[in-house]
Amino acid sequence: MAIPGNKDTRDGIIFALPFLLVYLVFMVFPLGFGLFISFFNWDILSSGAFAGWANYRRLFQDELFFSSLWHTVEFVLITTPVLMVLGFSMALLVTGNSPLRKVSENVFFIPYILSMTVVGTLWAWLMQRDYGLLNQIVRQLGGEPVGWLTNPKQAMWSVGIATYWWTAGFNMILFSAGIKQISKEIYESSQIDGANYFQTLFRITIPLVKPTAALCLILQVIASFNVFGQVYVMTGGGPHGRTRVLTQYIYEAGFRYFKMGYSAAMAYILFLIILVISVIQYAALGKERS
C-alpha cells in the first residue's frame, strides 16, 4: 500500500513533467507537424498552399526517390549482417579470458564516442584516391590506386567500412551485456561434460544470446535505414548520385531546395517502411522465442 499522504500518480506526473514537456515540444509535435506539412507545398519562409496527396503522388514518379531508397536498402544490406557478426565477435573477445580484453574493449568502443563528422572527415581523407593513406599503402605494395569513394562500384562499401569501424563498438556493448547475463553454472556444467570451445559457443552462448541479438538487429536496421552523415560527409552522395541515400535526398529537398512538403512526404514513407520492417522483425523473432 501507498504511504499515507504520498500521491504516487501526482508525484510521478510532476517528476516526469520537465522531460514530458520537452518530449512533447521537440518529438511529438514535430512528428504531427511533419505529417501535416506533407500535405502542403511549403517553403518554410512563406505560408504554404494545400496540396492534398500531390506530394505523395509525385514521389512515386520521382526516379531520384526510388534510386535513393534503393541506395538506402543497399546500405542496410551491406552494414547490418557485418555489424552483427563484428559486434558479437568483439563481445566474445572482451568477455573471454584474453589478456587483451580490457584494452580491446576500449579500442573497440572509442570510435563510437567520436562525432559522425569527425569519423566521416577522417575516413574521407584516408580513402582519398590520390593522396589518401590507404592508397599510399596500396602503391607501396605495388598495386593500382583504388577509387575508394570515387568508383561507383566501391563507394557504398567504403562508406560501409567507415561505419563498421564507427558503430560496431555499440553492438559489442549490447552483446557483451547479453553474454554476461548467461549463468556461469551452465558453462561450468558443460566444461564438466567435456564440451570444447566451439561446442560451448554454438550450443550455449549463441542460443542464449538470441534475445539480445533480436534487439540488436532491430536497432541496427533502424539505424542503417536512417544513414545520412557518413554518406553526406564522405561521398556527398557521389559519384554521380550513386551513394545518395534517402535521408540525404530528404535533407536536400527540404533545406536546399525548400520543398518542405515534399521532403516531409518522403520522410513519412521512410517512416512507414521502417515501421513495417520493425513490426515484422519483432513478430518473427517474438514467435521464435515463445
Binding site: 582519398q128 584516391r129 593522396y131 570515387t150 560527409v233 564522405m234 557521389g238 536546399r256 525548400f258
Partner: protein, 428 residues
C-alpha cells in the same frame, strides 16, 4: 501539516518568480544602456579557413575605424550555414547583415525575407556607379536590388610555368585545341598531369564540370537556360559541342584522369604535378603559400569561341525584420558599403573586387596574380536567376559526371538532362 506545505510551496514559487523577474529586469536595463553607445550591427558570415582570416581582419579594421558602429560576427560552418540561415529567417531571428552567395540569394528573394535596398541606397547616396556592372546586375530581381556584391569569384585558369617551359610551350593556350595540345605536350614530355579538372564527386561535388559546361555554352553565344529561365537550352549543337569537349578531355585525349575528385585536382596542381588547372579564384591563396610552385593565372580561355566564364559572388544582404529601425539600417548599409570599398583587403583571399575604385588602389595592384585575372570580371556571367537553381545545379552536376565517367553519347546524355531539368523547373 497541509497548510505548512502550502506555505512552503508558495514561498518557493514566489522565490522562483522573483528570480525570473530580476533576470528580466537586468536584461531590460542592459538593452537600455546599449542604445546610448555605438549601434551594434550583427552579421553572419560563412567564411572559415583561408577566407575567414581575411574577412575577420576586415571586420577588425572596420571596428577600429568606426566609433559609432560595432560589427559583431558569428561565423557558421559552411555546411550548416544555409540551414541555419533559413530557420533564422523563418523565425524572424536573423542578424542585421548576412553573407549570401549570389546563387542562393535568388532562392530566398521571392519569399520576401530580404529587404529591397533601393530606397536605403538612394537615401544614403551610395556610389552605385562605382560598382562593376555584371555582379551588381546579378543581385537584382524584378528590377530591385536585394544585396550588394562583395566580390566576384570567377572560374579561371591556373598554369604551371615550369612544366610549360619543360614541354616547350611558350604561348598561353586559348582555344580548346591549344589547351588539349599543351596538356598533351606536358604529359608526353614530363609525365605530369595535363589538365587537372575534377570530374568526380568525393568530399566535394564535381561542380567544376557544370561551371565549365555553362561557360563553354556561353562562349558559343548562347546560354544554359532560355531567356526567362523557364526551360533548358542546352540540348542543341552548342550543348553537344560543350559536353563533347568535357567528355573528350577524359575519354579521348586522356589529358584528365578519370575519377579525379576536387581534392585530387587541387593537390595535383599545388604539388606541381599538373600543368593546367581550372578552378575558382579562391584557390589562389593556397597555391601562393606553396613553396616551389611557379604558377600564373589567366582568365578562363575562350575555348569554344568568345571569352565567358562562370562566376559566383558573395553578397551582403539585409534580412527583413519585424520592425525596422532606420538608424540600424543606415549602420548596416555603412558596414556593407565599407566592406565592398575595401575589396583590396578581401582580394588577399583571391577574390576579385566589385568596386572600380579598388582596382586603382596601390594595395590591390601590388598583389601578384590578381590583376592577371581581374579582367575576368568583365566577361564573368552569373548563374540564372531562378529559385530552382540549387536543384538544377546539383542535378546537372550529377548527370554531367555520369556522362563523363561512362563516355556517354552526348545526344543521349543531353536529352535525359533536358527532360530532368525541365521537370525540376516546372516543379517550382
Amino acid at each position: 501539516m497541509r497548510t505548512h506545505n502550502r506555505k512552503r510551496a508558495f514561498i518557493a514559487i514566489a522565490l522562483i518568480g522573483l528570480m525570473m523577474l530580476s533576470t528580466l529586469w537586468a536584461a531590460g536595463t542592459q538593452e537600455q544602456t546599449k542604445q546610448e553607445g555605438p549601434i551594434e550591427v550583427t552579421f553572419w558570415s560563412l567564411f572559415t579557413g583561408g577566407d575567414g582570416e581575411f574577412f575577420d581582419a576586415m571586420v577588425d579594421e572596420f571596428n577600429r575605424t568606426h566609433t559609432d558602429i560595432v560589427a559583431k560576427t558569428d561565423t557558421v560552418k559552411f555546411d550548416n550555414y544555409y540551414t541555419k540561415l533559413t530557420t533564422a529567417l523563418s523565425a524572424n531571428n536573423a542578424p542585421d547583415v548576412v553573407v549570401v552567395h549570389q546563387s542562393n540569394l535568388l532562392g530566398y528573394v521571392p519569399r520576401g525575407v530580404f529587404l529591397p535596398l533601393d530606397d536605403l541606397l538612394a537615401k544614403n547616396n551610395a556610389p552605385m556607379d562605382d560598382f562593376v556592372a555584371a555582379p551588381l546586375e546579378a543581385v537584382k530581381y524584378d528590377g530591385k536590388t536585394y544585396a550588394l556584391p562583395l566580390d566576384v569569384h570567377a572560374l579561371i585558369m591556373y598554369y604551371n610555368i615550369d612544366l610549360f617551359a619543360e614541354a616547350g610551350i611558350t604561348k598561353v593556350p586559348q582555344t580548346y585545341a591549344e589547351v588539349i595540345a599543351a596538356a598533351q605536350a606536358v604529359q608526353a614530355k614530363t609525365g605530369a598531369m595535363g589538365l587537372a579538372v575534377d570530374n568526380t564527386t568525393a568530399t566535394y561535388k564535381a561542380y567544376t564540370l557544370t561551371r565549365l559546361f555553362m561557360s563553354m555554352i556561353e562562349q558559343q553565344g548562347t546560354s544554359f537556360l532560355n531567356a526567362d529561365n523557364s526551360k533548358a537550352n542546352f540540348n542543341n549543337a552548342a550543348g553537344e559541342k560543350a559536353l563533347k569537349a568535357l567528355v573528350d578531355m577524359v575519354q579521348l585525349h586522356k589529358t584528365t584522369p578519370a575519377g579525379l575528385d576536387y581534392d585530387g585536382a587541387v593537390n595535383a596542381f599545388r604539388l606541381g604535378k599538373a600543368a593546367i588547372h581550372f578552378n575558382g579564384v579562391w584557390a589562389t591563396g593556397s597555391f601562393e603559400k606553396q613553396a616551389d610552385l611557379n604558377f600564373k593565372t589567366a582568365g578562363l580561355p575562350p575555348m569554344l569561341g568568345k571569352p565567358a566564364a562562370w562566376s559566383g559572388s558573395h553578397t551582403l544582404a539585409i534580412p527583413a525584420q519585424r520592425t525596422e529601425d532606420p538608424a540600424k539600417l543606415d549602420a548596416a548599409l555603412t558596414f556593407i558599403l565599407w566592406m565592398t570599398e575595401h575589396g583590396d583587403m578581401w582580394a588577399k583571399a583571391g577574390h576579385i573586387p566589385t568596386r572600380l575604385s579598388v582596382y586603382e588602389k596601390e594595395s590591390f595592384t601590388s598583389l601578384p596574380h590578381r590583376k592577371d585575372y581581374a579582367e575576368a570580371a568583365a566577361f564573368a556571367f552569373a548563374p540564372p536567376a531562378t529559385p530552382a537553381w540549387e536543384e538544377v545545379y546539383s542535378t546537372t552536376s550529377d548527370m554531367l559526371e555520369y556522362a563523363v565517367a561512362n563516355n556517354q553519347n552526348v545526344k543521349t546524355a543531353l536529352q535525359a538532362m533536358e527532360t530532368r531539368i525541365n521537370n525540376i523547373i516546372a516543379s517550382y
